[in-house]
Amino acid sequence: MPSPSTAGQKRQEQAASKPPLLIVDDIHLRFGGLNALSGVSFEVQEGHIQAIIGPNGAGKTCILNCICRFYHPHRGSIVFNGRDISKIATHKVAALGIARSFQNIELFRGMTVLDNIKLGHHVHMHSGFLSGGVYLGKAKKEEMKVRAEIEERIIDLLEIEAIRKQVVGTLPYGLQKRVELARALAMRPKILLLDEPMAGMNLEETEDMARFILDVNEEWGVTVVLIEHDMGVVMDISDNVVVLDFGTKIAQGTPEEVSKNSHVIEAYLGADDAAHSKLGL
């Protein structure tokens, strides 16, 4: 395994030669009189782990919701993989290779873990209500192929073999988070949008989750956009950090740069304390 510094160098070389995978350009989002986002722009390089941090209500989740087309920003554009996605329908985003997990778990509670993960594969499957209904030939083969892929790639990676037949609603919180990541991975994403994957987890679960994210990023080459409040994790695993406050971007850079940025310290600690303290990272 290459050391972190060489991996980082390699990424920077790649970044120089390739256009960014995701370009968020001057996004404005308003709810009535409230400006949730006012002119946020940033770029995500392919293969990076891009963190988005900021105090509560800064607009972090709003950005993810704009990217996967839940919210329709009234100005600005989002370009993914060279294609403007600000006009396409919500359900078509998945097929482009954008997967996400939610802050409050949004799994299909009545289904088993396996079925939930298989649903992630929905856009890559073809059987319809007729071929599926007779369950012969192609439809059956497809189901088996998907099952094998899920078992051997995702369930094995995330270490959830033991719970694969259990109904999701009965699982503890930490495992549900993991299943949600599994479902997102089943979408064969190019980019993975994770909304607070470590929220509410204990140290061990947090470390597991960080390891999974790094595995997915390094082995599968999936670009990750990560919203997280656990600064330790953000500083450890991300390549680049965007800091939001009140719907605007106040800083962007490597974790070290951001942690020394005076605007960031002010946003987190307030102006008075900023002079006496540096961000406890």
């Binding site: 998945a94 997967a99 599926g132 059956k140 189901e143």
Partner: protein, 353 residues
């Protein structure tokens, strides 16, 4: 899942009847169902219920109940219009059969026409959920029954519509004995279809729409498409059931397809267990058998007290209502859930865990 059961391929793990034991039972059930008509008469004389008729009704309603279960149980869209949809199927089959179309075209045509009607009335489901959708489909119920009653030159109005018996080639399904096998084939077909759809891509998308439609959209499920598709498949099945019913009782009128039938369909799914194939089977058996069984004490009592016989006449409906309410209170997940509990209990017996 029983202890010590290990599968070596994914295919074995996903099969519907995974073990030899289960398969043995299914074969036994199949043999019983095929052999039943030959001694049905004896049983009927013995218990005083026309068993063959009852079984045929169970099979026909099973096709429709699977349809509604697909829509309400799997996709989570309530419909109070399925009684009328069944009527659409029945009238389509009847009208086409009267035009001289062969039976094996009439029945699919009944399904297709009903699917079309169902999809049109399913469009509000895009915006409406829960109770609001129930009211919207209730409108379908009344509009369709009104049409059946008043479009007289097509439907025969309240006088009813005579339907010829079903015929394939020269073989005529003119007795209960023959019709039994036809209905059985459809019931098995519908059951297998639902089971298979439920475990493939389409069925999973339906459940996704039911459980959390926002994240369904994020993983690429087109909500509009799947809601309408669910209405279409569901109406197709209930329309086919209507066609079968028309060919079975050979005279249909709008009075067969009132709101009462829609509510019965919904009750079948809820009592049996929403979102489970086994649920609609249990529900239909329960709903068809219970009134028949209740008839025996009712008739007995009205024989003993002839002066107040009209009170006992409504006893059936009352007991029926009470039983449904008790089910909703004590087993809201339906008979299928209770069945799973019992099975799980015996798996561990005599150990508590």
């Amino acid at each position: 899942m029983p202890c010590g059961l290990f599968f070596e391929t994914y295919q074995k793990d996903e099969s519907i009847f995974p073990t030899l034991w289960v398969r043995g039972w299914m074969i036994a059930l199949g043999i019983f169902l095929l052999a039943f008509p030959f001694f049905a008469q004896t049983v009927s004389d013995w218990v005083g219920i026309n068993m063959l008729n009852m079984f045929i009704l169970i099979f026909i309603f099973l096709v429709g109940a699977h349809g509604l279960n697909l829509l309400t149980g799997y996709t989570g869209q309530i419909s109070l219009g399925h009684g009328a949809f069944m009527g659409v199927g029945a009238y389509t089959a009847g009208i086409l059969a009267n035009l001289g179309w062969p039976f094996w075209i009439c029945l699919p045509a009944a399904g297709v026409v009903t699917a079309g009607v169902g999809m049109i009335f399913g469009i509000p489901s895009l915006r409406l959920r829960g109770l609001y959708l129930a009211i919207a489909t209730l409108a379908a119920q009344f509009i369709l029954v009104y049409a059946m009653r008043n479009w007289e030159h097509l439907t025969g109005g309240s006088a009813g519509l005579l339907v010829p018996t079903a015929k394939i080639g020269n073989f005529e399904f003119d007795s209960d004995f023959k019709f039994y096998f036809l209905a059985l084939a459809f019931a098995i077909g519908a059951t297998m279809y639902l089971k298979n759809v439920a475990r493939t891509r389409t069925g999973r998308a339906f459940v996704a729409v039911r459980d959390r439609y926002l994240s369904a959209e994020v993983i690429g499920v087109n909500l509009f498409k799947y809601r309408i598709m669910s209405f279409g498949i569901s109406s197709f099945m209930v329309g086919t059931a209507g066609g079968l019913w028309a060919f079975y009782i050979t005279i249909i009128s709008d009075e067969h397809f009132t709101l009462w039938l829609s509510v019965q369909y919904l009750a079948m799914c809820i009592v049996g267990g929403l979102g489970q194939v086994l649920g609609s089977i249990f529900g239909v058996i329960f709903m068809v058998v219970l009134p028949e069984v209740l008839r025996i004490p009712t008739e007995l009592l009205s024989g003993i007290f002839p002066n107040i016989s009209d009170i006992f006449a409504s006893l059936r409906e009352m007991v029926f209502g009470i039983v449904v309410i008790l089910f909703l209170i004590f087993e809201p997940d339906g008979m299928a859930a209770r069945w799973h509990t019992i099975r799980a209990y015996w798996k561990l017996w005599p150990f508590s865990y």
